[in-house]
C-alpha cells in the first residue's frame, strides 16, 4: 500500500516494455501497449493517460514523451503507475503526477522497483474555461465520450487527476482520459483533451466541447462530433 507499481515503455527493436516493478503477462502487455504509445508533432509535448486495465485489475496513470534521441523517428517514452483498486480509492492521486518521469541517459534501474507513494502533492490548476469544461465533461449524465478542445492540452493534466480524486470511489475505475494533440473518434477514453480532432467530421459518437471561445452561458459550448 505504501508503494505503487511502475512500468516503462520505450523503443528498443520496437515499442515495448523496457522496465517494470512487476511481471506482466503477454496479454497484459498487449492490453497496456496501445495506451502507452503516441504520435507527436511537437518535440516538447507530452500526453497524459488514465484508464482502467481489467486484465491487470488496476488503473493505469501514465505520461508519454517524444524520444528524439532514439534511432527510430517517432519513438516515444512512456512511464506509467499501476494503481490497485484499493490505491485508486484511498490515496491522494494528485501527488502522483510528479512521480511520472521521462528516463534520462539510458538509466532504467529506478523503474524496476515499486515507487514509494509521494507525500504531499503539487496541483497546477487549469485555466478556468478549461477547468469548467472538464468538470462538465466528467459530471455529464450523457455517457457519450467527450472531446474537450484546448490549444495546450498539457494544461488539463492537474485538473483531470483532481477530478479523478474528487470522483466517488465507485466511479473512479470508469473515468478514463487522455490528453493528445489530435483527439480520435471511437477512442476508448471517456474524455480526450486535444487541440484538434483527427479524421473526417461526424465520424465518431463523441461530444465535442469547445471552451476556447466560451459563450456567456455558464455551460460550455457543445456539439456532436
Amino acid at each position: 500500500m505504501d508503494a505503487v507499481d511502475q512500468l516503462l515503455f520505450g523503443y528498443r527493436d520496437g515499442h515495448q516494455l523496457i522496465a517494470a516493478s512487476r511481471p506482466l503477462s503477454s496479454r497484459q502487455q498487449r492490453d497496456v501497449l496501445p495506451h502507452l504509445d503516441a504520435s507527436f508533432d511537437q518535440a516538447d509535448a507530452q500526453q497524459l493517460v488514465g484508464i482502467s486495465i481489467p486484465s491487470l485489475d488496476g488503473y493505469l496513470l501514465g505520461r508519454i514523451w517524444p524520444a528524439p534521441e532514439r534511432p527510430r523517428p517517432g519513438a516515444v517514452w512512456a512511464h506509467a503507475l499501476l494503481l490497485s483498486a484499493e490505491q485508486l480509492t484511498s490515496i491522494r492521486l494528485a501527488g502522483l503526477l510528479g512521480s511520472l518521469r521521462r528516463p534520462l541517459d539510458e538509466q532504467f534501474d529506478q523503474y524496476n522497483s515499486a515507487l514509494p507513494l509521494p507525500h504531499g502533492f503539487e496541483y497546477t490548476a487549469a485555466p478556468p474555461p478549461l477547468a469548467r469544461a472538464l468538470a462538465w465533461a466528467v459530471r455529464s449524465a450523457d455517457i457519450s465520450p467527450q472531446i474537450v478542445l484546448w490549444d495546450n492540452p498539457d494544461e488539463a493534466e492537474g485538473t483531470l487527476v483532481a477530478l479523478l480524486d474528487a470522483s466517488p470511489s465507485a466511479e473512479r475505475l470508469n473515468l478514463s482520459f487522455r490528453t493528445r494533440e489530435r483527439a480520435r473518434p471511437n477512442s476508448p477514453y471517456r474524455i480526450q483533451v486535444a487541440a484538434a480532432v483527427a479524421g473526417p467530421p461526424g465520424e465518431g459518437r463523441e461530444f465535442v466541447i469547445d471552451p476556447r471561445d466560451p459563450p456567456h452561458e455558464s455551460r460550455p459550448q457543445t456539439s456532436a462530433a
Binding site: R27, L33, D37, S39, R72, P73, V76, P200
Partner: protein, 282 residues
Amino acid sequence: MKFMLLGEQATGKSSLLVALYGALVNRRAGDLRIVRTVDDVEFLSRGLLAFGRQESLRRTEVDSNAALLIELARGEQVVTVDIPDRSGELLKHMLDTRVWDPDLLAQISLASGALLFLRADELAPLEEVEMQAEPNGNAPTDEAEPITQPHVPGAEWSPALMPADSRAVDLLQSMLGQRSHPLPLAIIISAWDRVKALISPPPSPSEWLADNVTLLDQYLTSNGERLPHAIFGVSAQGGDFSAGLPGDMLGEDPWDRSFVVGPHGERDTLASPILWLLDATT
C-alpha cells in the same frame, strides 16, 4: 477490397502507402488512376512532405487507425481499396507471444489479399551483399549468418529469438490455419535501393528471396495454391536519407525517386503490387 499489410516494425509498410499515394495523385501509377479518397489522407500528405524533406517517416503508433482508403479506376473498372496501416509492433508482439491480435485475426477471413513486408538489409547483411558483389568470382570465405535477435547468454529460447524468415513462415502458417480459401500475397522486399546499389548486376526480387530467405521461399513454393504470390523489390524513399541521396535524385520529387522492381527484375510503377493483387483476386 481489403488488403492486409503484414510486417514487423520498420519494414516499410507506411512508406509504401505514402509512396503509392504520391504516385497515384501525381499520375505515376500507369493505368491505375485515383478516383477519390474515401478516408482521411492527412497522414499520407504529411508523409509525402517528409519524403520531400528527405526525412524518413515516423513510426506508426500502436493504436493508430490510419488507412489508405481510396477508389481506384483501371480502364472501366472502379474498385475501392482499403489498406489499414497497423503498427508493426502489433505483429511483432503477436509473433513473440503467439497470441492473435484480435483485429488482425478478424481481418484474415475478410481480406482479399495481403502484402508481406521484409527488409532487404535485415535479411541479408550489407557486408554479405558486398561480398556477393565481388567481381572476381571468388566465393566469400564465410557463410553469412542470418540476422537473428541478439542472443543473451543464459536466456531461455522464445519465439522472439527466431530469425526473420522463420517468423514470416510462422505467420503465414498461422494465417492459413485461420483461412479456408487462398490468400493472394505480394511479398515486398523493402530498401531495394540497397540491393540495387551493392550488387551488380542486381538480382531479381525472386532470385534474391530464393538466395537470402530460403525457408520462406521454399514455403511459398510448397504452398503456391493456397498462397499465390509475387515478389517485388520496393524503394519507397528512393535511397537512404541518412547516407544522402545520389546527386541525380536530389532534385526529384518523392514520387519520381521511389521505384518498384517486379518479380523478374523489371522496373515498374508503385502501383504494381496492388495491380497484381487486384488481378489475383478476380
